[in-house]
């Protein structure tokens, strides 16, 4: 009994491949479209015109260089946290702790920028970014180690670490920062600007900031009048590069193969000779580094200092960004664009059309809901579906015929029973 018709027809193969691949893009696009359509009913209920509201939203996100800068600014951190969640999720490490890792990264980067003020830009920029990545990955190492070695549920540990991080952050931005040796350790790691009464850090040194389009144009000998150009920084380029690197890492390298294998089935991965403990820890480190860099890029590219609530929620936003991006690093770029544009355009939408800002959260939530629901829809040819049904029946028969519990066959079932 053949599950799949063998086919030598090249075109049919190509058609199937197209269907299999494009399907991943069609789901989120359809979900977003459906979210907009349904949300328009709410806008109508508010007495506003949905078309003009969406037009204003679009204009607010892409209509001017200023609008575009807003969108890009909002995209960068959620690209990074989306990648952190994607890489973790694909590898069986459900990192809910991107929020905390992001704050750790932001703190480390800020510390570099207010402490190593004498360093040149060519050294300080990569060093600050690296510090953020390291801080994030060390923070993720705790749940990674606990999961790999002790079987702790990483969802709980990463989530709980977030609260610890936020408190640590709240504490450190209230401790006066002192540069140089000879100070108490606490003053050394404190982040607060001693010249100010408020809980925030000093601005990081000029050399630690990401170069912007303005500085590029100036360096080329031109002039840039548009102030928005200052907000197009290297941070955005780094984020896009990170997505490409993670895509290659995940799908084209042995590291990614190991990670995905452990993510799909740790027992089979172990059987294939993959060191599950080491792979899980590596995954946590990579995921944490990405989330940490989200904080670094926000500081180095846009805010240039930490203040209270400087970027709350970007870590958690990584989860829906990753899900709508179909857990694909390149999909994360597109889904971050959607999230970024919604937030950037929301104010303009409210001012121009009267549709409230909160509509964008409705759109966002509906899109997530539909994207998840959409994965159940099956557009593949009927023959393929039939094959899966037959397979399910056959499996049932096979299971029915096995009559002893002590076989390897039921290892998973048994573990589940003991949990």
């Amino acid at each position: 009994m053949l599950r799949l018709q063998e086919s030598t027809n090249r075109w049919e193969i190509l058609y199937r491949r197209f269907l299999e691949r494009s399907f991943n893009i069609l789901i989120p696009l359809g979900a977003i479209l459906a979210a907009f359509v349904i949300s328009s009913a709410l806008i109508v209920a508010r007495g506003a015109n949905p078309l003009s509201a969406y037009a204003a939203l679009f204009a607010g996100a892409f209509g001017s260089s200023n609008a575009l800068a807003n969108t890009v600014t909002r995209m960068v951190p959620i690209i990074m946290t989306g990648l952190a969640v994607t890489y973790g999720y694909r590898s069986g490490f459900f990192n809910i702790g991107a929020e905390g890792q992001l704050f750790m990264g932001a703190m480390a980067t800020t510390w570099m920028g207010i402490t190593l003020t004498g360093w040149p830009a060519w050294l300080l920029i990569p060093a600050s970014l690296l510090a953020g990545a390291l801080a994030g990955s060390l923070w993720a190492l705790i749940p990674g180690y606990l999961k790999a070695k002790r079987g702790f549920n990483e969802v709980l540990t990463t989530l709980l670490l977030n609260y610890i991080t936020i408190q640590l952050f709240e504490f450190l931005i209230r401790v006066d920062h002192a540069v140089g040796l000879g100070h108490p350790f606490l003053a050394w790691i404190g982040l607060k600007d001693p010249t100010q009464p408020f809980p925030k850090s000093a601005y990081i040194t000029e050399a630690a900031r990401m170069p912007s389009l303005t500085s590029l144009l100036t360096w080329l000998g031109g002039t840039a009048e548009d102030p928005a150009f200052q907000r197009f920084t290297l941070a955005a380029v780094v984020a896009v590069l990170a997505a490409v690197v993670i895509y290659i890492l995940l799908f084209k390298t042995t590291t990614g193969y190991r990670a995905r294998a452990v993510g799909v089935n740790p027992r089979a991965a172990q059987y294939m000779g993959i060191n599950v403990v080491r792979t899980t820890i590596t995954t946590a480190l990579i995921s944490g580094a990405l989330a940490g860099m989200a904080g670094s890029l926000e500081i180095m590219g846009f805010q240039h200092r930490v203040i209270q609530n400087f970027l709350v929620g970007a870590g958690y936003d990584g989860i829906p960004v990753a899900l709508i991006g179909q857990l694909n690093p390149l999909g994360v770029l597109l889904s971050a664009l959607f999230f970024g544009a919604l937030r950037a355009g929301a104010n303009r939408m409210q001012i121009v059309s009267g549709a409230p800002v909160s509509i964008i959260y409705v759109i966002q939530s509906l899109a997530i809901l539909f994207a998840i629901a959409g994965t159940v829809i099956d557009l593949r040819p009927r023959r393929l579906k039939q094959a899966e049904i037959e397979e399910a029946k056959r499996l049932e028969a096979e299971l029915a015929l096995q009559s002893s519990p002590a076989t390897g066959t039921d290892i998973l079932g048994e573990e589940a029973r003991h949990v």
Partner: protein
């Protein structure tokens, strides 16, 4: 005496398999009736038909002389049939009492009445001699006591017939004794018990009558007092026609695998291997015969480095691999076809191609400097798909969409592509159709001719008999005897498999 339960011409087929073929069975009130048969004989399927898990395709079920329709477990319970599955259906965090009343209406709806339930359970347990503490969470109980909870669950629902599916498989010898005492007490009180098992000695000890099943059919039903283990073994194993395999004579070379007094624990932390010593030489197939669950899984896993050895040594080509990492063992040339391709042998969500490189992806030329070499991998996979006749439209199809036979071909293709010195094949043809079975067996014989040492672990006796050069019988984690295939006596093997040491095998275990 009027029968309590009578089955008439029950048939049940699954796609491609006849699980029950016109089965007749009669259970009398107050008897312990054993259902004996090898794995896959159809015992559990038959009982699932009685319990309403499956609907029989045809045939009639009579309860106390009346024909009844059992559509779901609820109907069976209403009639007075209780079943204790092999895998307990308990909710671990709930207490014993909560588990027992689960699904029953409470006398104080919508509130629970745990207090009176606890009392009733305690009384019930007392009256049957099954001491139990109703307020303890189930996860804290040892397996034997959990089984007791399952039995009480059935009794609480006023079962008159209790079906126990391989109840002793999970128990320690002491717990088995306890269980038997309880079953005898049930019998005194007029309950009937169906006892599913494949262990001869047990069946002889506990049952009044024994029904032997083979390949979905009832061979015979006879009183325990008028039969003996030897006869039962013969009926159970039968005289099947073996698939004929062309096999050149065996020319064993150096010792490739050597196990020395190996001990290991099962997942439940009970002794699973109790001092196994065994040798496999280059160019020979050593078959491990035995009923499922006697340590076969653990044996394969200790060799592959997937389970800790508590005592003893394992050597491959003279090198000690005891408790080494799986990776190191693979690199020494040990291939392993695991018994469970769905959960262990394959990454179901991965493509055919990704599965084919599962053990070699990190060595050149499959990858260089950590990057997978797509062109080489594609060529390699196309070659493997062609040479192993794996039926798939292309290499990028998720392997879960392939048929079982083709999935197993992927596993075997991957393992043999490593050009192993030793191949451990555990249940290599389980659940496969005839064509795929034959292909897999032929491949193994070819590997043997090429000088690979093969350890074949199978619960299908005919597979072991037709492929092996030497046969070892395993029972409860011990090797009962090793014999050359030429001298193997079917009845002898049947007896050893069932744990009867009446005759110690007089084979010629080859030593180095």
């Amino acid at each position: 005496m009027e029968s309590l339960l009578r089955l008439e011409k029950i048939c049940k087929t699954f796609p491609g398999v006849v699980a029950n073929d016109h089965v007749d069975l009669e259970i009398l009130p107050g008897e312990i009736h054993a259902l004996l048969g090898e794995n896959g004989a159809g015992k559990t399927t038959l009982m699932n038909c009685v319990y309403g898990v499956y609907r029989p395709d045809s045939g009639t079920i009579y309860w106390k002389g009346r024909p009844v329709e059992i559509h779901q477990a609820r109907d069976a319970i209403a009639l007075g049939i209780g079943m204790v599955h092999q895998h307990f259906m308990l909710v671990p965090p709930l207490t014993v009492a909560e588990n027992i009343i689960l699904g029953l209406p409470s006398p104080r709806e919508p509130l629970l009445d745990l207090k009176s339930a606890s009392r009733q359970i305690r009384e019930l347990a007392q009256s049957y001699g099954l001491p139990i503490e109703p307020d303890v969470p189930v996860w804290q109980l040892p397996v034997g006591v959990q089984q007791r909870v399952e039995i009480l669950k059935a009794l609480y629902r006023q079962a008159e017939l209790l079906i126990l599916d391989e109840p002793t498989a999970v128990l320690t010898p002491g717990e088995v004794e306890e269980l038997f005492k309880v079953l005898r007490a049930f019998k005194e009180k007029g309950l009937s018990i169906i006892f599913i098992s494949h262990k001869l000695e047990e069946v002889m000890t506990i049952s009044d009558r024994i029904t032997v099943m083979r390949a979905g059919k009832v061979v015979d039903t006879l009183p325990a007092s008028r039969t003996n283990p030897r006869e039962l073994a013969r009926m159970m194993v039968g005289r099947e026609v073996f698939l004929h395999i062309e096999k050149p004579p065996c020319t064993p070379g150096e010792v490739v695998l050597e196990l020395e007094n190996v001990r290991a624990q099962s997942d439940r932390d009970l002794p699973a291997l109790k001092g196994i010593s065994l040798q496999v030489r280059a160019g020979e197939i050593v078959g491990i015969a035995g009923v499922d669950g006697n340590g076969q899984t653990e044996l394969a896993e200790v060799i592959a480095g997937l389970r800790r050895v508590t005592e003893g040594r394992i050597r491959v080509l003279g090198k000690d691999i005891t408790n080494c990492m799986p990776k190191d063992i693979i690199d020494l040339g040990v291939a392993f076809v695991p018994p469970d391709r769905q959960h262990m042998g394959l990454l179901l969500d991965f493509t055919v191609s990704e599965n084919l490189i599962g053990k070699s992806f990190d060595r050149p030329p499959f990858s260089r400097y950590g990057f997978l070499q797509r062109r080489f991998i594609e060529n390699f996979c196309d070659g493997a798909i062609r040479s192993c006749d794996i039926r798939t439209p292309h290499a990028q199809v998720p392997v879960k969409l392939l048929s079982g036979g083709n999935q197993q071909k992927v596993v075997l293709a991957r393992e043999l592509s490593l050009q192993p010195k030793l191949l451990v094949a555990s249940q290599p043809t389980r659940g496969l159709d005839v064509g795929a079975t034959e292909y897999i067996r032929r491949q193994m014989v070819e590997a043997r001719s090429a000088g690979t040492a093969i350890l074949l672990i199978s619960t299908e006796l005919d597979e072991v008999l037709s492929l092996s050069d030497r046969i070892a019988v395993i029972y409860e984690g011990e090797i009962m005897g090793i014999m050359s295939a030429a001298e193997a006596d079917l009845q002898e093997i049947g007896l050893l498999m069932a744990g009867s040491r009446a005759h110690v095998a007089t084979g010629t275990p080859q030593t180095a």
